[in-house]
Amino acid sequence: MINLTANIAGVHFKNPIVMASGTFGFGREYGKLYDVSMLGGISGKGLTLNAKAGNPGVRVYETASGMLNSVGLENPGVEGFLAKELPYWETLDTARIVNLGGNTLHDYVLGAELIQRDAEARSLAGTTAVDMIELNISCPNVKEGGIAFGVKTPAAQEVVRAVRAATKLPLAVKLSPNAEDIAEMAEMCQEEGADAVSLINTISGMKIDVRRRRSVFNNLYAGLSGPAIKPVALRMVHQVAKRVSIPVIGMGGITSATDIIEFIMAGATVIQVGTYNFMNLRAGSTLVEELQQFMLAENISSLDEIRGIV
């Protein structure tokens, strides 16, 4: 029997395959194509305290082996999410992660408090819908907040500390590859009581329309994801995993079982799959099956055997 399970701060993952924020909605749409409860977990679309319309203009552009996106955190707001999505999340048998973004420190804290209060009320009623918070201090596509918190360690520290105080839910902090020193950032998160770090978010990039002599994006820059960023992501996961003792959630360009194994060997406890969901709408079920086959063929009975082996 192959053991695919993992555990982060008491949250059980039936396998290491978690769907990345912003690429999977809240799971509903993919849930029409396959049983999303077969996944290790789902990180929902990034939320902000108040609903956001996102960025105007072109929001996606393909690049060599990657894509640039400039969605700009379009989302229903924390309360919209709690009201509209949680009845569905209650029915899922997978780790359910809220991805929380913000414009100001205040937004992050109020958002975390609302989620905490909802979780307490549900727990009294004997149910759960949110298992973990993933704090997004790394969105490159919003002007205020987002990335501004994710680049410099002292700015990030303030947010992590305040959100840690606002919630008892397991807390992962999602780091930016644009951080000045991502390993130092991860150490700070550990010191401030984060239960895990996840990395990487998209890399700030650009595309110019040479005929119109301007960036194709209204926001000038956009976030690069997909296979193009995998080597960078893998290196960063490796660096961070060597420096911290809390679990690392690794992601960036994963499209196959061997990609997953690479991230686990670099030290990740679980991984997330983003852009691949667009290349294969059944990415989750494909990868669960492929991973099992790969482990059988390679005689690996548990991911613990290879975790951090490199």
Partner: protein, 234 residues
């Protein structure tokens, strides 16, 4: 995985693809197609041209890397299809005009089959294609090459008008709808939008459309929108 039956060149850069299998779909819905491995990254959305017991058909224009690969497909080749997605055109009654510009005629063929007796307007910038297939389905067929097909359509004489074509044509159709309303006859003008897509199913929000009541998703709330609801920014 599906199999290509035929992939016929109709005009310069325009192809008619037939794929074998048991497919569903309503008029105006689309499929996400890919005929390659990892690259290009994203699948390409194509409207249903026709669907029946033999399979599903598409009409496409070669504009870049993805459609170029489609153009190279030959009978027996494999192609991946996901769908049908999107809301599609509504089932309507009354007098209907179907107005297509260029490759925008693609979804209108299935509409013409479902709404027999419609007036059909097909406009092309350089070369007409597939017009003869439409003729037996039309109460009246108007074809224009080199002009503006919308100029031929009297918006006050229809109950419903379905429009698919390039962005400027959609904006112009919206204005003609407003003008018809001012003139005392309010047709239901429906536009099929072609926003860039990644997932095609409503999960990634890259295809967002600004509408009067807020942001909507072209892939899941559309691609067909009531013209008056859409806010055109550029």
């Amino acid at each position: 995985m599906a199999t290509v039956i035929t992939n016929e060149r109709l005009a310069d850069g325009v192809y008619h693809l037939r794929v074998e299998g048991n497919y569903g779909g309503e008029m105006g819905q689309f499929y996400m197609l890919r005929a390659w491995g990892a690259y290009p990254l994203l699948s390409r959305p194509l409207s249903i041209h026709q669907v029946n017991d033999d399979g599903v058909e598409f009409l496409y224009h070669v504009v870049g890397e993805g459609t170029e690969i489609f153009a190279g497909l030959t009978p027996g080749d494999n192609i991946d299809l996901e769908g049908p997605f999107g809301n599609g055109f509504p089932e309507v009654e009354g007098k209907v005009a179907l107005v297509g510009g260029g490759i925008g005629i693609a979804p209108l063929y299935y509409c013409a089959q479902k709404l027999p007796g419609s007036d059909i307007y097909l406009g092309f910038s350089r070369e007409a294609f597939r017009t003869e297939a439409f003729r037996p389905l039309a109460a009246e067929l108007t074809v224009n090459v080199g002009g503006l097909i919308l100029d031929s359509v009297d918006f006050t004489s229809y109950d419903h008008i379905f429009v698919c074509g390039p962005h400027p044509m959609l904006k112009a159709a919206q204005l003609k709808g407003f003008a018809a309303e001012t003139a005392g006859k309010k047709p239901g003008v429906y536009l099929s939008l072609e926003n860039r897509m990644a997932c095609g199913i409503g999960a990634c929000l890259v295809c967002s459309v600004s509408c009067r009541d807020g942001q909507r998703k072209a892939c899941a709330d559309g691609p067909v929108f009531l013209a008056e609801e859409v806010l055109f920014h550029d």
